[in-house]
């Protein structure tokens, strides 16, 4: 093959190979894309091994050892810690409280989130304002949310107590033994419902209006419209949100710490709080680590199971297409 220059101007010959101001092909272009990618990922990989994988493995080791809290001497203990934890009635009490808390939070948060999303889909005066303000609880630090609600719930200076007083009702203490868990769950829901509301609203807004018009023409009532049109569209995002909130509730610590500190009388001693007490107050590493592993495994299995169920083909948005 030859190089032919147009006869007209004998301008400078442009090189077939372009000079990049460097003598050789740069290193990053010489290696394969995979190697280039791995080089960019390497720092994160090293870091995660050092500060996540290694600690988690170390925690497994701790859960299988006896540690003397005063001398720090460790010896292998096999599954002793797990046995000790599993035979402790306090552990089962905490497990029950955790389940109770997770259920309360999930129900409250999804109800509030769905209600808010459905409300925000309507047209009303001040909708943009509400839309903007609704993220406020979510953008608060969780510990700050704890302090904020302390000022609502406190029987001494709380807003609810004050309202009860002005209405002439008996003093109201929502953080008492029987109501502590639902009250905490309410705060948790207050904080995490906005996320769900936005998430669900995004899904609601893709439902074509024509579907509702069609349903009205067909004489469907409001509940049937929700069941046949709305539900298929929000099923999957709703499931994802429920898993997210449920998982978070199982791990909740900040709120409990500030609002009840596990009390009164252990009435809100969920697993995370129990782990905190066991490990950092009583310096009992082995059982603490064992409990944290039990919690981790249970939450992971439940979450994975829920995802599998929710993403099963034929559920979720496939049905939306048929509707």
């Amino acid at each position: 093959m030859s190089t032919v220059t147009k006869p007209a101007p004998p301008g400078p010959a442009y090189p077939v190979e372009r000079s990049t101001g460097r003598p050789r092909t740069p290193f990053s272009s010489r290696i394969s894309p995979t190697r280039f990618g791995l080089l960019l990922v390497a720092p994160v990989a090293v870091l995660l091994v050092a500060i996540v994988i290694y600690p988690v493995a170390y925690s497994l080791y701790l859960s299988l050892s006896h540690t003397n809290p005063f001398t720090g001497v460790r010896r292998f203990a096999g599954v002793d810690n797990f046995q000790q934890v599993l035979s402790d009635p306090d552990f089962w009490h905490s497990t029950w409280l955790t389940v109770y808390y997770v259920v309360c939070v999930t129900v409250l948060a999804s109800a509030v989130a769905l209600g808010t999303a459905l409300l925000l889909r309507e047209r009303f005066v001040g909708r943009p304002v509400l839309m903007a303000l609704i993220v406020l609880p979510w953008s608060l630090s969780t510990y700050a949310a704890g302090v904020v609600w302390r000022y609502i719930f406190s029987p001494q200076y709380g807003l609810l107590a004050a309202i009860a007083q002005q209405l002439g009702l008996p003093p109201l203490d929502l953080l008492s033994k029987n109501t502590a868990i639902p009250a905490l769950a309410l705060v948790h829901a207050w904080q995490f419902a906005p996320l769900g509301a936005y998430f669900l609203l995004a899904s609601l807004q893709v439902i074509p209006d024509d579907l509702y018009k069609l349903a009205k023409v067909d004489g469907m009532g409001i509940l049937r419209r929700f069941r046949t049109i709305t539900r298929p569209y929000i099923r999957l995002p709703f499931a994802i949100y429920v898993v997210l909130v449920g998982g978070q509730a199982a791990m909740a610590f900040d709120l409990i710490y500030f609002l009840t500190s596990g009390g009164p009388g252990g009435a809100s001693q969920t697993l995370t709080y129990a782990i905190y007490q066991e490990t950092f107050q009583d310096l009992s590493f082995g059982p603490g680590a064992a409990m944290s592993w039990i919690l981790l495994i249970v939450v992971t299995v439940l979450t994975a199971g829920y995802y599998v169920a929710a993403m099963k083909p034929g559920s979720g948005q496939d049905k939306a297409a048929e509707a």
């Binding site: 093959m1 030859s2 190089t3 032919v4 220059t5 147009k6 442009y14």
Partner: protein, 371 residues
């Protein structure tokens, strides 16, 4: 003004490219000579390998085997940044965060050219592409047509040895596309840079290219100038692919007396000329299928579509066989009119029924047949 241009011939020699462990190679032993200064269109359905060919020519994808030469130089192992090619990317992409001026100048700044030279070259291409007044805007602040012109300016500014265009008109509407096509042809006349233009639109390829290379399933099916491609397509698939209207492929059987029968005897054709192969499919473009009103015919008009000066008829038998014919709108026939199809033998093609390859059969005279 006459720009300074280097016209380089490109040769692709037995190039094979396979992505990972994919069962089929994206480029399967491709040989292609691109002549200095020509505008070559690479045409094919999506997944045919045309984008891979563009990436390989640009140096964006390494090849598994084979060589690439620009002029006399072997560039196989030279990466994109040193290959002196320019690409107009799909949807006329420019850097989204830079002004048009900086986008256009980017390649030159990477080459560390002096500022005055960069300025001179930008003024030059901006003048040609009529975008002088837009240089300080961002890509999203200009229209699709202006973005297209800027993308071409960006490509030309570095005086590339090879200009590659990857479906550059895919994001604009039909009318603008036609206008840009003409502009590109003019620009190529003016510049003469060796250009490879990738498209899936046969009309686009056939209208502006010096030659068209058709790719399918990683292989080059045919490389030819547009007229040859149209008149002498290598296969029935290709004939259909480069046809504007649906291509009539008629399976025929021999009858006594040199006649051919099709569709269970609904259509009997008497081709002129010598003996025909034992088995063949007859290929007739709609514009070469003439129809005339005839009460005795087995065919009647199913639909008619009026397309600027011409009418496209779909005709059918009671069995459901369909043929497409195009004729002038001097007389428009109504639906259900019985018509008799006849073949314009000078333009008829014959194909092997099994492989689909074109058979070298010439039907010499033009004879209308009667069914």
């Amino acid at each position: 003004m006459e720009p300074e241009v280097l016209q380089v011939g490109i040769s692709v020699e037995s190039v094979t490219k396979r992505y990972g462990k994919a069962p089929r190679a994206a480029l399967d032993d491709v040989d292609l000579e691109i002549r200095p200064g020509e505008l070559l269109a690479v045409l094919g359905p999506s997944g045919g390998g045309k984008s891979t060919l563009l990436n390989v020519l640009a140096g964006l994808e390494p090849v598994n085997s084979g060589r690439l030469r620009f002029g006399d130089e072997d560039v196989t192992d030279i990466p994109a940044e040193r290959r002196n090619v320019a690409v107009v990317f799909q949807s006329s992409m420019l850097y989204p965060h830079l002004s048009l001026r900086k986008s256009i100048a980017f390649a030159l700044t990477m080459q560390k050219l002096p500022a005055e030279e960069i300025q001179r070259r930008i003024d030059e291409v901006a003048g040609w592409q009529r975008i002088d007044h837009l240089l300080d805007r961002k890509p999203h602040e200009v229209s699709g047509g202006e973005r297209q012109r800027s993308a071409v300016a960006k490509a030309l500014v570095s005086h590339p040895a090879l200009l590659l265009m990857d479906e550059p008109f895919s994001a604009v509407d039909a009318q603008l596309r036609r206008q840009m096509r003409t502009e590109l042809a003019k620009l190529h006349r003016q510049f003469g840079t060796t250009t490879v233009f990738v498209t899936h639109d046969q009309e686009e390829a056939m209208s502006i290219a010096d030659r068209v290379a058709v790719m399918r399933a990683g292989k080059l099916v045919q490389v030819a100038d547009p007229l040859t491609l149209y008149r002498r397509p290598a296969s029935a698939w290709l004939a259909d692919f480069v046809s504007v209207q649906p291509f009539n492929l008629i399976p025929v059987e021999h009858q006594d007396g040199g006649a051919l029968s099709a569709f269970g005897g609904s259509l009997v054709l008497k081709p002129p000329g010598g003996p025909l192969p034992q088995r063949l499919d007859l290929g007739v473009r709609p514009e070469h299928l003439r129809i005339t009103r005839s009460e005795s015919s087995a065919f009647r008009i199913l639909t008619r579509e009026i397309i600027g000066g011409q009418v496209k008829y779909t005709i059918t038998t009671d069995r459901g066989d369909e043929l497409v014919a195009v004729r002038s709108d001097d007389e428009v026939l109504d639906a259900d009119t019985p018509v008799d199809p006849a073949v314009d033998w000078a333009h008829a093609l014959a194909f092997d029924p099994d492989s689909g390859d074109r058979l070298d059969v010439r039907f010499n005279e033009v004879v209308a047949s009667v069914s």
